[in-house]
């Protein structure tokens, strides 16, 4: 089976000289939900941004059979839905409806289709009644689900989620997990939340210093790196 995402020898260095990714190899297969563990600054978010060409790294990235290049970037962004860590960064339109419609309108879909798609995506995330609301009137959990609806409106084949459960209260977190569980797309989830990874993940990978150093069942990876009880020394020892 061909991977949906194939990354080989990916390197990325920030302007300040920080080597965020240092020869990273990674595959994501259809149907998988991979939890991406790793200490802060290990390159997890950078990897997500590189996958859709928001940061230009060196190395090879293939998404849904398309090699990431300038010409394929728009298509890859459509096929890979990125949920950002801070929903306020992602909800920039004046109403929830307009925000979810942002992607489909950019694809040039006709208004009737945009409307159908928006209503469908809001229903999927359980926000049917929030279409006319302004994003700043939503709770943190609703914001996260609205942002997810905006991502789903592009019909992505892969979801790349950056800390999806951060700042959510237990009911909001549970609702989000239910929603994510019901989505058929392959998922790459950057998280520190081992419980979330246990509930959704089919596999986990551990990233350290810009490289994937381990991969396997969520439980095994979490235990090996003592990821629920880890201290910084443990993470370094894990390297």
């Amino acid at each position: 089976m061909d991977p949906l995402i194939r990354v080989r020898n990916l390197r990325f260095r920030y302007d300040d000289g920080t080597q965020a990714l240092d020869g990273l190899d990674f595959d994501l297969y259809p149907g998988e939900t991979v939890a991406l563990f790793g200490p802060n600054g290990s390159g997890k978010t950078t990897l997500l941004l590189c996958l859709v060409g928001l940061l230009d790294g060196e190395g090879e990235i293939e998404v849904c059979g398309q090699r990431l290049r300038r010409e394929t970037r728009a298509l890859i962004r459509q096929k890979t839905g990125v949920l950002f860590q801070d929903s306020d960064d992602q909800l920039f339109m004046p109403t929830v409806f307009d925000d979810v419609a942002f992607g489909p309108r950019n694809l040039g879909l006709d208004p009737a289709r945009v409307e159908r798609k928006v209503r469908h995506c809001l229903r999927v995330v359980g926000l049917e009644g929030a279409a006319a609301k302004a994003p700043y009137h939503l709770s943190a959990g609703e914001k996260r689900r609205a942002a997810l609806a905006g991502v789903l409106a592009l019909d992505p084949e892969v979801l790349a989620l950056d800390e999806p459960a951060t700042f959510l209260d237990p009911p909001g977190r549970a609702a989000l997990i239910e929603t994510l569980r019901a989505l058929p797309q392959a998922k790459l989830i950057v998280t520190h939340d081992v419980d979330l990874a246990r509930e959704l993940g089919t596999r986990a990978v551990f990233l350290s210093a810009g490289r994937i150093i381990d991969s396997g069942p969520v439980e095994k990876i979490a235990r090996r790196y003592q990821w629920e009880t880890a201290r910084i020394d443990d993470c370094v020892a894990g390297d």
Binding site: R77, F84, A101
Partner: protein, 238 residues
């Protein structure tokens, strides 16, 4: 963060709130232009417009006292102009110009209090307002809340760590906080841009097309037109 008053008013339910924003924008513009442009020295004209706006505000269930108080914000700006007329020996003209400014502020408050900002921006766009300015206004309004919230958090953090700081300390904090807020805003702007690119943004915002105006909107516009005609044609001065 507490919502701003106008934002709260704009979410009330009334027949006027339900009208298409374009009708309200055109109606408000008709009131403003006709009030300012014609019969400059007519002392009772502003009173007629004021009564009309108050009726509209009452139909829209806006708190009238709140409208009256908030409209006074225009007085410090209009006052000096009126004072010039007063010192020029034309006190009546100065008073009329002050009254007109106040009524104009009431009209603007009526429009903003009955129309949500998203609807207002969309209405303005359909009426041909420059899209660039509307997008800037939209982003400014959207992130004003986020930035205010960040500023409030910084203030709270300062109070926790320096409960008895001096004025000088406060000034130092304010300059540092402004710099930090600017840096954070810059970082956020970059992340927003990334989020837009990730969803297919290619340089211009594609917005929803406008639909045709309904009967209620035409009725509202006709009523405003009739009221303006009556106000303008009535011989107020005996």
């Amino acid at each position: 963060m507490h919502q701003v008053t106008l934002d709260r008013w704009s979410r009330l339910a009334s027949p006027i709130h339900r009208l298409d924003a374009r009708a309200k924008i055109v109606g408000a513009l008709a009131l403003l232009v006709s009030l300012v442009a014609f019969r400059p020295a007519e002392a009772w004209l502003p009173a007629g417009y004021f009564a009309l706006v108050m009726v509209l505000a009452a139909v829209a269930r806006l708190p009238l006292a709140g409208v009256l108080v908030r409209a006074t914000v225009v007085l410090p700006f209009a006052g000096p102009v009126a004072a010039l007329s007063l010192f020029g020996g034309d006190a009546a003209r100065g008073a009329v110009s002050l009254a007109k400014s106040y009524v104009c502020a009431c009209i603007i408050l009526f429009l903003l209090g009955t129309t949500s900002l998203p609807a207002l921006l969309r209405g303005l766009e359909s009426l041909g307002a420059p899209r660039f300015f509307l997008i800037v206004a939209q982003f400014l309004y959207r992130y004003l809340f986020v930035l205010s919230e960040q500023a409030q958090h910084m203030m709270q953090a300062r109070r926790c760590r320096a409960p008895r700081s001096s004025r000088r300390g406060l000034a130092q904090f304010a300059s540092g906080a402004l710099a930090a807020l600017f840096a954070r805003s810059y970082g956020r702007a970059e992340r927003i841009h990334q989020a837009m690119l990730a969803r297919g943004f290619q340089g211009h915002l594609a917005l929803a097309p406008a639909s045709a105006l309904g009967r209620a909107e035409w009725f509202f516009l006709a009523s405003v037109a009739v009221a303006v005609a009556l106000l303008q044609l009535t011989p107020w001065t005996p």
